[in-house]
């Protein structure tokens, strides 16, 4: 797949033919799907790989010795190898299948951090984190007496190297941050954060839910200890996530869940575990979902992650600029170098109302707090509209979005611009 001559060109209109969901109209208009940051649509290759597995090769993994069990195990482990290659990891033993990014981050917090933290230790986060990379750390801090420390973002909500340096101290044990923010689309300097964390003997945990779909990842170049992402945001199925972890960490950790599949030997009173990664995969794993994820990775690799990144960044910056130039529209986050997402508000029209007007034009966007309530509080807004872009979107989608936003302004007429909400006592 690294041979550029074999690559599929990134032509969104042609790619859309691979996605059955686009073969419909919403409100009488061709669907413009701008909510991939919440979840991405699925190409036929993913759906067919899963169906083929269920129809031809389905059995449980790592158990029986019959033919189908052999095929299922082989397919499941081949999916793990595809993830290893996708991430540039040393060994497939470093790839744990979980149910989601949330599942992966809870695993790290409970199985790695909890036994190692104590009072006085510090966990460094950013105030931009998705709740999935905040709540597991709040809990482990409560349980161990460790303290949460927050990196201070710039006014346009970027995380700088200097701010990282300021937050990390000799007391730091964990640095956990998003690679790409799900609200601003800004990219955090992960390699720098990893160096600084390691310099004080801490580990770095990366929430890659918003970066894995859009940019080339190389866990060895970034030198991260843990990295988590979900299958469903990168064209794969729901119900599967990945935790990458350096093998030394996985070896030193106790299992998070215990039960079937993950054991070496069991007596009535005791048990020993299998090697990593299997000791972290108790119970029947998401087998078909792993196979679907592999198909998604191969679909992305055929186009090339660098080409996808260039396309998505170009489109997102185009949208951010077009929206920022619309009178009355507030765009949150940096003006350039956005990856995939643009969060904005239209005057004082509530995000839900903007979203409903856009929906009536066949445009799907997210409206709400984007699982980042502390960030919404910081922005002094109850909610924002969020448009997010992927490889099946193009300039026409940006144009339709801008036209839809103008329609919202027209529709709400003189509401637009008036302060119509936010008088709640102690509120935002």
């Amino acid at each position: 797949m690294t041979d550029r001559t074999l690559r599929r060109p990134l032509v969104p209109k042609a790619l859309r033919a691979d996605f059955p969901i686009f073969d419909q109209t919403i409100a009488g208009r061709p669907l413009v799907y701008l909510d991939s940051a919440a979840t991405a649509q699925k190409p036929r290759a993913v759906l067919e790989a899963m169906t083929r597995f269920y129809e031809r090769d389905y059995a449980n993994v790592h158990r029986a010795v019959h033919t189908l069990a052999g095929r299922a195990t082989e397919a499941y482990e081949a999916a793990r190898e595809a993830v290893r290659r996708f991430l540039g990891a040393r060994s497939a033993a470093e790839i744990v299948f979980t149910r989601s990014t949330t599942g992966s981050l809870n695993l790290v917090a409970q199985a790695y951090a909890r036994p190692r933290l104590g009072p006085g230790d510090e966990i460094v986060l950013t105030p931009l984190e998705h709740h999935a990379n905040l709540l597991p750390w709040q809990r482990v801090a409560r349980e161990t007496g460790a303290r949460l420390v927050f990196i201070e973002p710039t006014d346009d909500l970027r995380i700088t190297e200097a701010a990282i340096d300021q937050a990390i101290s000799p007391r730091t044990k964990i640095v956990a941050l998003a690679h790409v923010s799900n609200v601003t689309g800004a990219v955090a300097p992960i390699a720098h954060a990893a160096r600084r964390a390691h310099a004080v003997g801490a580990v770095i945990v990366v929430d890659a839910a918003q970066s894995a779909p859009h940019l080339p990842l190389d866990v060895r170049a970034l030198d991260v200890d843990f990295l988590a992402f979900s299958g469903h945001k990168m064209l794969g199925p729901t119900g599967i996530g990945v935790l990458y972890a350096k093998e030394e960490h996985l070896r030193s950790m106790e299992p998070y869940e215990v039960g079937g599949e993950m054991i070496d030997r069991v007596t009535l009173f005791d048990a020993t575990w299998r090697e990593p990664p299997w000791k972290f995969e108790a119970g029947t794993p998401p087998i078909a979902e792993a196979i679907g994820l592999r198909a998604a990775i191969e679909y992305l690799e055929a186009i090339g992650m660098d080409a996808i990144e260039a396309h998505v960044v170009r489109l997102t910056n185009l949208a951010a600029e077009a929206l920022a130039n619309e009178p009355g529209v507030t765009v949150y986050g940096p003006r350039t170098d956005r990856h995939a997402v643009v969060a904005f508000n239209v005057g004082r029209i509530h995000a839900h109302d903007v979203s409903t007007v856009l929906d009536a034009e066949g445009i799907a966007v997210r409206a709400g707090h984007h699982c980042a309530q502390p960030l919404m509080t910081r922005l002094c807004v109850p909610a924002t509209v969020r448009a997010s872009f992927y490889l099946y979107n193009d300039e026409d989608d940006v144009e339709r979005l801008v036209v839809g936003v103008r329609r919202a302004k027209e529709f709400f007429g003189d509401v637009f611009g008036e302060p119509v909400s936010g008088d709640h006592p102690g509120s935002l």
């Binding site: 109302d353 409903t356 007007v357 009536a360 709400g368 119509v420 909400s421 709640h424 006592p425 509120s427």
Partner: protein
């Protein structure tokens, strides 16, 4: 599914010029705060009861035009009504936004709130319309309980 069915003129009017917006203080005032955690809309409803009657009803909150106009319509409608009357109106409203047919007298009784009927064509927005009415239901339940036991603590 047209936008005009959802955003009727009277709804936008209540949104722009909310009736009964504000707070209440003092003895006999019950405050109920309710949120839609999935979308962040929230309302605090203040009810002052005099015997069985909702003598004063006010609200503050933040949210979309549907949730805020619904709060305005509801507050204006139930102020001065008895608890039983208010409860009957809430039940009628929940049926209305589910798209169930109401008899003309019930529709008439719902006043401006009938304009929110169109929300049943937008299933994801129904919870916006019902937020204020759910707060009313809770206020009525807590108010009833408080009347039976004077030590009953109002919601924050």
């Amino acid at each position: 599914m047209s936008l005009e069915n959802l955003y009727r003129e009277i709804i936008l009017d209540h949104y722009k010029h909310p009736r009964k917006r504000g707070t209440l203080e003092g003895p006999g005032v019950l405050a109920v705060e309710l949120k839609n955690p999935s979308c962040g809309d929230r309302i605090t409803l203040y009810v002052r009861r005099e015997d069985d009657r909702l003598a004063a009803v006010r609200f503050v909150g933040e949210g979309c035009s549907i949730s805020m106009s619904s709060a305005s319509m509801m507050s204006a409608l139930v102020e001065g009504k008895t608890a039983d009357e208010a409860e009957a109106l809430a039940r009628a409203f929940f049926r209305l936004v589910q798209g169930e047919p109401l008899d003309p007298a019930t529709e008439e009784a719902l006043g401006d709130a009938v304009a929110l009927q169109g929300v049943h064509q937008f299933p994801v927005r129904i919870k916006c319309a019902t937020l204020a009415w759910k707060a009313l239901e809770r206020a009525l339940a807590e108010g009833g309980a408080a009347a039976e036991s004077p030590a009953g603590t109002p919601a924050p």
